[in-house]
Symmetry: C2
Subunit: 217 residues, 2 copies
Amino acid sequence: MRDSYHDRLDLLMADLLEMTDRVRTAVQDATRALAEADVQLAESVISGDQAIDALASEVEQTGFSVLAISSPVAGDLRMVTSGLRVVMALERMGDLAAHIAKIARLRYPDPAVPPRMMDSFLRMAEVAEAMVATAGRTLQDRDADTAAQLDANDEQMDKLRRDQFVEILGDDWDEGVAAAVDVALLGRYYERIADHAVSVGKRVVFLVTGIQPSEQN
Amino acid sequence: MRDSYHDRLDLLMADLLEMTDRVRTAVQDATRALAEADVQLAESVISGDQAIDALASEVEQTGFSVLAISSPVAGDLRMVTSGLRVVMALERMGDLAAHIAKIARLRYPDPAVPPRMMDSFLRMAEVAEAMVATAGRTLQDRDADTAAQLDANDEQMDKLRRDQFVEILGDDWDEGVAAAVDVALLGRYYERIADHAVSVGKRVVFLVTGIQPSEQN
């Protein structure tokens, strides 16, 4: 027989995993909207962000009510406080995917990204999606080892971003100022999604080991 | 006579207010480093961010130990959970001030911002500093009314940012791609500092009224 305390903890985790899934899809769709100048898809990412925000709000209320009613300790307390941190990261990732989609919408019917840069963004999206998926999986499996490795994936993202700067600031950049600005901001959004995945990873390490993120490597 | 429970709550609030002060100073100094191409000041903002991070980590550990040991309820519980959210926003604001300083350092001895744009950034910094100060003050005074008004200040920031885009994407922009990219990213950093101040304001409203941010206007 289940009690409402454990039901609430299960709901919290289920909502977080659902958010992870939706964020991953949002990143994927936003990137496709960018690559194919698909304004309908961009719109659906932008409106879909509300569902992510609604889930975030549900996680917050669940977490808060568990703290208020049940005063969990040890592992359960870590799960709730970590959940309340992870949910902020996931909500921001959803916002960032929506920002990407908004740039695709803004430039429509033109593509927002010059063809020569699109491969780089597809690779950024690949890295970001994989990191979001890994973050979700490690949360579900309480896999601190894999969670701690998200930092290494983040280095790929940083490298992709540095390469983009070399392109847009190079002498043979002939796509103009607006395209360069779009590339710089889009690159920033993907980079931030990856950063948030790393921070989720740190929370997973804390959840499993009890070691505070600031004391982790 | 004080007990350690209330000492911990007082410490948590004192650390948050100290962070608010340091963030405001960091924004101010980063902007001066930008305006005056002052690389020493930029360095001091960048290294000063570690002190902000250390305070953040102290707040987290204090908050977590209060939850674990004392299982606070009602207003005290809201204070701890809000504190754990506010600290993330303040930590990010510190990072963003450091990002601004890093652009000043990167372009040194040249100014990162073309003279024609500097007024706009000085105004952005003014708005951001005022918002950070207001966020801190409303936290200290538990002033939900003023906290709720931070949204209106944020509109000034958004307007400044839109005006910057008009400049850098206009036909008479002759400062080149690199300067336009710097302006776009710097503008983004100031805008995000303001966004975080708004989110602190929402937490203050929650702290005082018990109304969740998602249910606030």
